[in-house]
């Protein structure tokens, strides 16, 4: 008798435990479902907020950097180059000396190169469309057009010749492997650039030794050159990232000893920035001595 009561009790206990635990399990599932639902809504909410933010506050993610370089002295008079070769053709054209161009009206220096020294962690998708584009460097009227060209590795440089005489195009590069090729009259050749170059590369035509150009080859699109009034702008830079920019000029090398910039410029012509939006470096005065 005692035994059967005992067995009944045990059975009851087991039964109770089983039912109870199932109930608990069910409840736990319910709770989990609710949590899932909450997480889903939360995600939806976050996504909505993020997309709204990215639409409204787009400029908060990317910023522009601009500034202007001016010659801190009386501008040197523009010079002309005298062709010594193929005079019959090249002599017909006025060939300006483009190794230093200062605007006589407003002292702006043209063709100063500003580049981000290291590839940033983020590159704006705005630049995706041009990542493998073709960029031209033409021989026109016995000079290079443009005098300074900015290229991103992955892009192709198309070297053209619009003249009636043959040219050759010889690059001084470290990382890329570029030919020194003849470019026949009205001809062209393509050079795919794959590597970032530590320095802006000088370009020469050895047939016409007065011809020179500069090609800046970087593994990111954040390079700029000053226009004829000395202004530059680099657009869509990542915000909140430590970046270092280099100022460089064909004749001066690193653009050193500048004054007036709204950020500290190092001895080697570099400026460290961490943008939280657009930034204007202001008018940067360049001493004439560095071009001598």
């Amino acid at each position: 008798m005692a035994d059967s009561t005992c067995a009944l009790r045990i059975g009851g206990a087991v039964l109770f435990f089983a039912v109870g635990s199932r109930k608990i399990l069910w409840r736990r599932k319910e709770v989990l479902d609710m949590i899932h639902l909450q997480i889903k809504y939360l995600c939806l909410l976050v996504a909505c907020t993020a997309s709204t933010f990215s639409q409204i506050g787009w400029s908060a993610e990317w910023g522009n950097l601009k500034g202007r370089f001016i010659y801190d002295g009386s501008p040197p008079a523009p010079k002309k180059l005298v062709p010594t070769k193929d005079v019959a053709f090249c002599g017909k054209h006025k060939i300006p000396d483009e190794r230093l161009i200062v605007n006589p009206e407003n002292q702006g220096i043209a063709d100063i190169v500003i580049y981000l020294r290291r590839k940033p962690s983020r590159i704006s998708p705005v630049y995706d469309a041009t990542a493998t584009a073709e960029v031209t460097l033409d021989n026109i009227d016995c000079r290079f057009e443009p005098h300074v060209q900015l290229v991103r590795s992955g892009q192709t440089l198309v070297i053209g010749n619009k003249d009636a005489v043959g040219h050759n195009t010889n690059f001084t590069v470290f990382a890329n492997s570029l030919p020194n090729s003849l470019v026949p009259a009205l001809g062209s050749f393509r050079a795919k650039l794959t590597e970032t170059e530590p320095r802006p590369a000088k370009v020469a035509c050895n047939i016409h030794p007065w011809m020179s150009a500069v090609v800046v080859i970087k593994d990111h699109p954040y390079t700029a050159k000053t226009d004829k009034n000395g202004y530059f702008e680099i657009k869509h830079l990542p915000v909140g990232e430590n970046m270092q920019f280099q100022f460089w000029h064909e004749t001066a090398g690193y653009v050193r000893k500048v004054t007036g910039a709204k950020a500290k410029v190092s001895k080697k012509g570099r400026v460290k920035l961490n943008l939280d939006g657009d930034f204007d470096l202001g008018e940067i005065k360049v001493p004439p001595a560095i071009f001598e």
Binding site: D86, F89, F174, P179, L182, P184, L186, P198
Partner: protein, 421 residues
């Protein structure tokens, strides 16, 4: 110039530590060392802030750890970088060090026995006899070689360097070493490659050094790990170029039988040479611009080759300073386009050799490559494969062409050749 290499080599680290330590103790001066490339260092120095002596000592120590000394060259053992695949350690040892013969009669110190008096112990082209030679001996440290089967910017293959050693360079003081046994030639090829890799790594490290802030060391005790990666990157960058040379050889296009000296009839060959004559004076191949209207090599006389150009800043004081740093013989000479009527071809006289000069250009000199027709854009001017063989036939015929042949008419004639385009 960024390359990824993840390696961990305790030997390398130990060597680096040791070299840095030795440098600090200051007992590195007693052993024979490779010279630093002072011209390149000076050219990359900030005009106002010179490199500190400690920085240069550090650079020298780092290079010593990676490449050893002229008596004990070191081959970096790191399979991820692969120097050991390019240069054989035993052959290198045979070429390095002072000159002596072992009891079996085997020669040691081959580089100093055969090469160093002109090319210098460090391969800087400033050996003791350099001043008496024209052209001056080559400086290997830029990693540029002129006579090779690969295009500008690529390295020569082993067979290119062997050919230079076996045949010499006609028209220069570089003799043929054809009488040396094969293993000695192989040892010298490896040693030249070794000196060239060392020199180019040094140049790349100087660029890195010039990027650092004032007085900062390339590799210090604090930056040992970062520095290790920097050096491995610099070495593997140069080594990769050498490793891929074989794959960059220009394979010659088939020569049409009517332009092939072995099969063409006399008449066919004459027509091929005439076509080549017009190409030589045309604005596509443009040969006359530098080699001259009469191919005497007098068309362009004011250029410098890449080695000399580095020593030619406009400022005369600066030029004099660089010349003294280079310990380079004076005066700096202009580049002479080859006189094609002499029948002396520095890179070899075979049609294949001339093919390579035309299709690749001459690295370090200003000779550009000829423009070939772009298959994607056949409308644009350029040369076809058969044009190239015609031009080769003309160049090879030039030593035998009579000088009384009237010169090509005038500048305007050259321009008119573009009309049919």
């Amino acid at each position: 110039m960024k390359f990824k290499t993840e390696t961990n080599n305790s030997c390398f680290r130990f060597g680096l530590c040791l070299a840095l330590a030795v440098g600090m103790l200051g007992c590195g001066n007693e052993t024979l060392r490779f010279h630093l490339d002072m011209v390149w260092i000076r050219s990359n120095e900030d005009p106002e802030v010179a490199f500190q002596p400690e920085q240069l000592q550090n650079l020298s120590n780092v290079l010593g750890a990676v490449f050893g000394t002229p008596n004990k060259p070191h081959v970096l053992q790191d399979s991820d970088i692969g120097v050991e695949k390019l240069v054989n350690r035993d052959l290198l040892q045979l070429a390095a060090g002072p000159v002596w013969n072992d009891p079996q009669g085997k020669s040691h110190g081959l580089y100093r026995k055969h090469c160093a008096h002109c090319h210098g112990v460090s391969g800087d082209g400033a050996g003791s006899t350099a001043a008496y030679l024209n052209p001056y001996p080559r400086d290997y440290r830029r990693g540029i070689f002129k006579f090779k089967s690969t295009p500008k910017g690529e390295k020569p293959t082993n067979s290119d360097l062997e050919k230079t050693l076996l045949e010499g360079i006609p028209g220069t003081s570089m003799p043929s070493f054809v009488l040396l046994p094969d293993d000695e030639i192989a040892a010298l090829v490896d040693y030249v490659k070794f000196l060239s890799i060392r020199g180019e790594v040094e140049r790349n490290l100087v660029l890195e050094l010039s990027d650092l802030e004032e007085g900062e060391l390339l590799v210090s005790d604090e930056t040992l790990e970062d520095g290790k990666e920097l050096i491995q990157d610099a070495v593997s960058f140069v080594v990769n170029r050498w490793s891929r040379a074989e794959s960059k050889v220009a394979i010659p296009a088939a020569c049409p039988s009517s332009a092939d000296p072995r099969t063409a009839t006399g008449e066919e060959m004459e027509r091929s040479i005439t076509r080549g004559y017009h190409l030589f004076h045309g604005v596509i191949a443009n040969c006359f611009t530098c080699h001259g209207e009469t191919a005497l090599g007098d068309g362009q006389l004011d250029l410098f080759d890449d080695w000399t150009e580095e020593l030619q800043p406009k400022d005369p004081e600066r030029h004099a300073e660089l010349m003294s740093l280079a310990q380079r013989p004076q005066p700096a000479r202009n580049l002479r386009p080859r006189n094609l009527r002499l029948g002396i071809y520095r890179g070899g006289r075979r049609p294949l050799d001339i093919y390579w000069r035309l299709i690749n250009g001459i690295d370090g000199a200003k000779m550009p490559q000829v423009p070939m027709v772009d298959p994607n854009d056949p409308g644009k001017p350029g040369m076809s494969d058969s044009d190239l063989w015609d031009l080769i036939n003309y160049v090879r015929s030039l030593p035998y062409e009579t000088l009384s042949r009237p010169a090509y008419q005038s500048q305007t004639d050259h321009v008119q050749l573009t009309k049919p385009l």
